[in-house]
């Protein structure tokens, strides 16, 4: 019942960050690494055999999160108990010890399952490294119905406001260039001919807030001229600005 799995199922703080380093993420991962070092067949290795290595490993590591530390220690305690049982063979196991033997089997099964998923994860990672992406047809004038809703200017304004604070204010001594609306219109039009642009990303390219405003006004002007189509898949999702083929 009170396996480390149940422990992991508890809600920890959302702040817990999972960083991909060679550091083991949890007791199960550490145990798996030690067991695999011992024996290829997880069902043949005695977990008691890796107790010392397990203890050495957690002693050498800093685990700042007390909850996480508790989970590592819980596993350590079980392993020590198991090892002490193995050191004194011959006696008929009592209830607690019988339970512990059952625990060992259960952990072996969990290790086996975890290892299988780790392997698949490795293959998925390999595919990702090879960048074997399957590209779907691009967005194009033929629209599948029901996907996107007509966008209100309010939503564009809200999106603009949400990122404006992230752009530095205009410095007192202006070093960058000063854009005219026409220049921005030409630039955005050019870029749109190559493909859709995400609105927030376009605004974030601005060097200062004045440029951001000019960019945004240029987008609104293109909407007004019906030169572009503005689309959003879902509420609060990315907003894509797309060139509308004239006469299409």
């Amino acid at each position: 019942m009170d396996s480390p799995a149940a422990g992991a199922g508890r809600t920890l703080g959302a702040a817990e960050l999972t960083v991909s380093t060679p550091v083991f993420e949890g007791p199960l991962e550490l145990l798996l690494a030690l067991v695999e070092r011992e024996e290829v067949d997880i069902f043949k290795v005695s977990l008691a055999k890796v107790t010392d290595a397990y203890l050495a490993e957690i002693a050498s590591r800093e685990i700042p999160d007390p909850q996480e530390m508790a989970e590592f220690l819980w596993m350590a305690a079980r392993l020590l108990l198991l090892k002490s049982m193995r050191l004194l063979p011959g006696e008929t196991p009592n209830d607690e010890e019988t339970e512990l033997l059952g625990w060992e089997d259960e952990v072996r099964q969990r290790l086996e399952e975890y290892r299988a998923y780790k392997e698949i994860a490795g293959e998925l990672l390999e595919r990702a490294v090879q960048e074997s992406f399957a590209f779907p047809p691009p967005a194009r004038p033929v629209e599948a119905g029901g996907q996107e809703q007509a966008l209100d200017v309010d939503i564009l304004v809200a999106a603009f406001n949400s990122v404006l604070a992230r752009i530095p204010p205009r410095p007192i001594v202006v070093q960058g260039r000063t854009w005219t609306l026409q220049e921005k219109l030409d630039l955005i039009t050019d870029r749109l001919r190559d493909g859709p642009i995400e609105l927030v990303e376009l605004i974030l390219e601005s060097e200062d807030r004045l440029e951001a405003v000019i960019t945004f006004v240029a987008v609104l002007e293109l909407v007004r001229r019906s030169a572009v189509r503005v689309r959003q898949k879902e509420r609060f999702g990315p907003i894509h600005v797309e060139w509308r083929e004239v006469g299409a």
């Binding site: 992991a8 809600t11 992406f133 047809p137």
Partner: protein, 176 residues
């Protein structure tokens, strides 16, 4: 390949989103069996071609074959998603094999908290909520998305990589 398959190919080619089998049925006014049959012949007809038929559960789409991803990339420089962490791939593997699956079950397999990694995968549209469990609190159940197949370059979930170790029966363990 017959006319129905060709019609489906045309529809899928011009759609910018995956279409459900039901939508295809309506489009060509045919029953489910004939659409499924036509899809199968389309899939076969596309073997050895630059595009392939992709299927994620009930959703169908076309996509370029992963073998040619680098050529497509050189020509068009399309947007690609960022790299994922090891934890993210482990979680994706569990979701892919056990879907629909709850967070508690994923954490049971990995032995660690998976809240943030699940949120990250959901944000990247690689997994999504596909329903609610019947247990206490009706936990969210996660499944993969069509985008997952695209990013991994898989024709369907049947083409998921399989573990090499013996005795690893993954689907058999699936539980709510």
């Amino acid at each position: 390949m017959n006319d129905v398959s060709a019609a489906l190919e045309a529809i899928l080619f011009s759609s910018n989103r995956p279409l459900k089998v039901r939508e295809l049925q309506q489009a060509i006014d045919a029953d489910r069996n004939s659409v499924e049959g036509a899809l199968e012949s389309l899939r076969e007809a596309l073997e050895g071609r630059g595009v392939m038929l992709m299927r994620h559960h009930d959703e169908i789409h076309l996509a370029t074959r992963p073998e040619f991803a680098s050529a497509v990339r050189r020509a068009l420089r399309p947007e690609v998603s960022g790299r994922l962490s090891q934890a993210a791939y482990e979680t994706l593997a569990i979701v892919a094999y056990q879907q629909p699956v709850s967070r508690a079950r994923i954490e049971e397999v990995r032995g660690v908290n998976c809240e943030s990694v699940l949120a990250n995968l959901e944000l990247r549209d690689l997994i999504t909520e596909v329903g609610r469990g019947s247990g206490p609190g009706q936990p969210k159940l996660y499944g993969t998305t069509m985008r997952f197949l695209q990013v991994m370059g898989l024709e369907s979930l049947d083409n998921l990589p399989t573990p090499k170790s013996e005795g690893a029966e993954l689907s058999a363990r699936a539980s709510g």
